[in-house]
Symmetry: C2
């Protein structure tokens, strides 16, 4: 097929509460570097880079995550600017997200083939993945719905299963490497997460695979399946389509709703959001795959993990001789088969067995591996208590660098702010706080109202309340300042922006 | 007896590595508030307050801990100034420490009776303790060496045992409440920590008690026993005595070597230290109690724990319905029989069983209760690696308030400094760093060379390198400042003091 018609749709709306405290609402699992050399989302992009044209890589995420994900792509360099982000007004599980992408795509490119990929899975061997992907595309071109099945290695009860019609596969299919269907198996049915007894039976019987959640199909095909199996969803999307592609707002196929919302009428945008919000949350597995009769499967030759919980690290990470995975500033005596993730702080462990310890600057988690699924209960408790530790990290990455909250006190807050060379914050003003800046490395260019001056290492500046100001790093090294905020109200939303290099109007720093 | 002859000798030289990370070399176990309303040392003092005259309460500790212990007594108010601190040149276990106190005491008050108490034990019921103590004193006046035995409630292998001669006790002794010997038991022998089998046998046989490490005797009696059983120690102490009580340096019996060393010749002081350093470390139990034939025991009617490790908290702390001891900022789901100690940071735990989790701002410890004795191995590892986490806390208490290291970076360090009302730091100078102070609450009086000014909340001051300066809290509320240090060398020993309210010449802040 013509690569111009091949699109990678990366689903990045998940909140990943199961990797708390490393994941937070503002830093979900896909934005974490848990395994491998980069974050899971960026690894997912790199996996198809060169195979799918850059402008055909689309990320589907929710409105509230879109800006952070855009900033998160920065390290990808020029590629980042090519990638499209499609914003869901709200999270409604995978079927609506995929349907939204399909309806956009269909307008843009009726011949398109979609490769749907979760953004938070681990696939260490990209070559095998691409080989299998090619096979899947061949199937998709025959109007199959194609998925990837992972050969089960244990009676896992945390995954859905796929049962194929014939197993073992017909030998002559396997023997013909040029046969487009090579390895493609007709799927008998999709099965939801089984109990242990059933899972054991699947393993001994053979012909059952783990459902990887990666799908390949023609856009036209999935739309007709949605029309068929999820008619309400289809109808709503059709209504939205007419709002999204209004004649007075020319469809900008290469920039769907992105990077910043075009100046379309707020009313129409709100209507879309209303439509989408009314959608029933439903997964593509349950809504389509379990119902369709045209599902085929490629048995994956690649290693895979969905990293469903901290305990899943065992499948995919290298362990030491005692079976431990130790990362960061850990001092251990006699532990076995345990996962110890620390950051800067010291974590000392003695004689742990099958335990998980995860440390971050503001929260530490300790549990047996067997309880890894219950991390979400902790997150729910924190939400319920209106705590901050489920929401945001002490260090927050921004397009211009990062800031770290070192301490919050009564009427003061201390941050370390790091600016990349050449970066600058927005021209801004705070109504309720003043700020002291002490430069601890680099040189700062400081604007206060009409005055501008350079503040060198070991010098300081004072920004009085209600003063329009800007911080800039004119140098070639990172600029680090310690900011002491003082005032009655010290939250991030006390900010009025006048100019911003990053197209932000109203959001945190 | 005349109370004027009764002395409480509190042994406070221990480093308490087993309570790491809450205990540190600069903040040993006796200075921690682990159980009860105050720190273990201050609880020990309060236990005998009113029974022993204030000036007869002596603390024996090592030279390096003496200043911190002196500051630690401040919250006791006027009592603190009466308490004497006897400095050992170096730690040599309990026999030399007790011998040193005895030889001082004997000069001062030959008729004295010494009550020897560890500073890091828990005794919740002071009334019962004092009742038992009175009985012990009656025995001491008969020239007995008297100890307290704790009725064992389990076959503990972590304690030494005391076997009494006759058990059960002669009934008619118990029936005569006015009989001075009431409850006093002649000791058959002292036994070192037994194995489990032996401990079980002790329990079933009866007549065995845990050795509490609390002793009562006449000063003259213990000196004659030391002369008898530890002749080398006795000889060395006699040599030291002649150095300590030189004619040209009048013996100041009420202020032995304290609070700051009198202007005795450095040579003599060094000689003493040399003598003491050569002493063989030996415990009073091994050196005297196991050998003497004149040991008697009071069976304790008070509750007691030596808090030998984190696991010992179970004996003495209230547990919730699940058997947990939770303190601080902990969120737990389904844990049982576990100890979770947190400070400000969030500790989230799921499904722990018989575990210990202790969090401090710079280090967290996780282990099963059964490994609690191995905490010292972690401390040894940290020492070996020249880490700081075994040595000092992020927050350091000082006589004028406290400071907390919020962050250390390359060429900068950030502290929050809190000054008590009316307190001031020394007039000082740093050779290698400058300091920015931002006042976040209260008002600071800042001296820079000859200039003095008031800095209010939300104002700042800059202390250039090599500038003589002083920080003072002239107000009636605590003063809080954020200090950003900047320079090539940022350790506490870059300080030159010119005046100090706390008699400090050269030490940390």
């Amino acid at each position: 097929m013509n690569p111009i018609n091949l699109f990678a749709i990366i689903l990045a709306g998940g909140s990943g509460t199961r990797f708390w405290p490393l994941s937070r609402e503002t830093c979900p699992k896909q934005m974490l570097q848990i395994v491998g050399e980069d974050t899971l989302l960026r690894q997912t992009i790199k996996r198809v880079q060169g195979f799918v044209p850059p402008q055909n890589i689309w990320i589907v995420t929710t409105e509230d995550k879109a800006q952070d994900i855009r900033f998160h792509l920065d390290p990808l360099g020029p590629l980042a600017k090519e990638i499209r982000i499609l914003r869901e007004p709200a999270g409604r599980n995978t079927a609506p997200a995929i349907a939204l992408a399909a309806i956009y795509l269909h307008k843009l490119c009726p011949e398109s083939v979609m490769v749907i990929m979760p953004s938070d899975h681990v696939i260490p061997d990209a070559d095998n993945f691409l080989g299998d992907l090619k096979r899947a595309i061949q199937g998709a071109l025959k109007d199959y719905l194609v998925t990837f099945g992972i050969k089960p290695i244990r009676p896992e009860t945390g995954y859905g299963y796929i049962k194929v019609k014939k197993w073992p596969a017909v030998p002559d299919q396997r023997d013909k490497p040029d046969e487009p269907d090579r390895g493609l198996q007709k799927v008998d049915r999709f099965l939801e997460k089984p109990d242990l007894q059933a899972a054991k039976a699947f393993l001994s019987e053979g012909g059952y695979f783990w459902n990887s959640g990666i799908f390949v199909w023609k856009t036209s095909k999935i739309l007709s399946e949605i029309e068929n199996h999820l008619p309400k969803l289809y109808k709503t999307l059709k209504e939205m389509e007419s709002l999204l592609f209004l004649p007075d707002q020319p469809a900008q196929p290469n920039q769907p709703n992105e990077p910043d919302k075009p100046d379309e009428s707020d009313r129409r945008s709100a209507l879309c959001a209303q439509c989408y919000a009314k959608l029933e949350p439903i997964s593509i597995d349950y809504g389509i795959m379990e119902k369709s009769h045209e599902v085929w499967m490629v048995p994956a030759t690649f290693q895979w993990s969905d990293l469903g919980s901290w305990a899943a690290l065992d499948e995919i990470s290298e362990r030491d001789r005692e079976g431990n995975i130790l990362r960061g500033n850990a001092v251990d005596i006699d532990s076995q088969n345990s996962i110890i993730f620390s950051d800067q702080r010291l974590i000392a462990t003695i004689g742990l067995n099958e335990m998980v310890v995860v440390d971050t600057p503001d929260a530490t988690l300790v549990m047996p591996k067997g309880r890894a699924q219950d991390v979400r209960k902790i997150v729910e408790t924190l939400k319920h208590k209106h705590r901050e530790e489920h929401f945001i990290h002490r260090t927050v990455e921004r397009p211009w660098g990062s800031y770290t909250v070192l301490e919050k006190g009564d009427r003061y807050k201390i941050k370390r702010v790091v600016l990349k060379p050449g970066a600058r914050l927005s021209l801004q003003r705070h109504r309720l706080r003043s700020e002291h800046w002490v430069v601890v490395s680099g040189t700062a260019k400081v604007t206060r109202e009409d005055e501008t001056c350079l503040i060198h290492t070991n010098e300081s500046a004072f920004i009085p309340i209600k003063t329009k100001h800007r911080l800039e790093n004119p140098g070639e090294e990172p600029l680090q300042i310690i900011e002491v905020q003082s005032g009655d109200y010290l939250e991030e939303d006390d900010i009025e922006r006048f100019e911003d290099d990053y197209g932000r109007t109203q959001s945190t720093r």
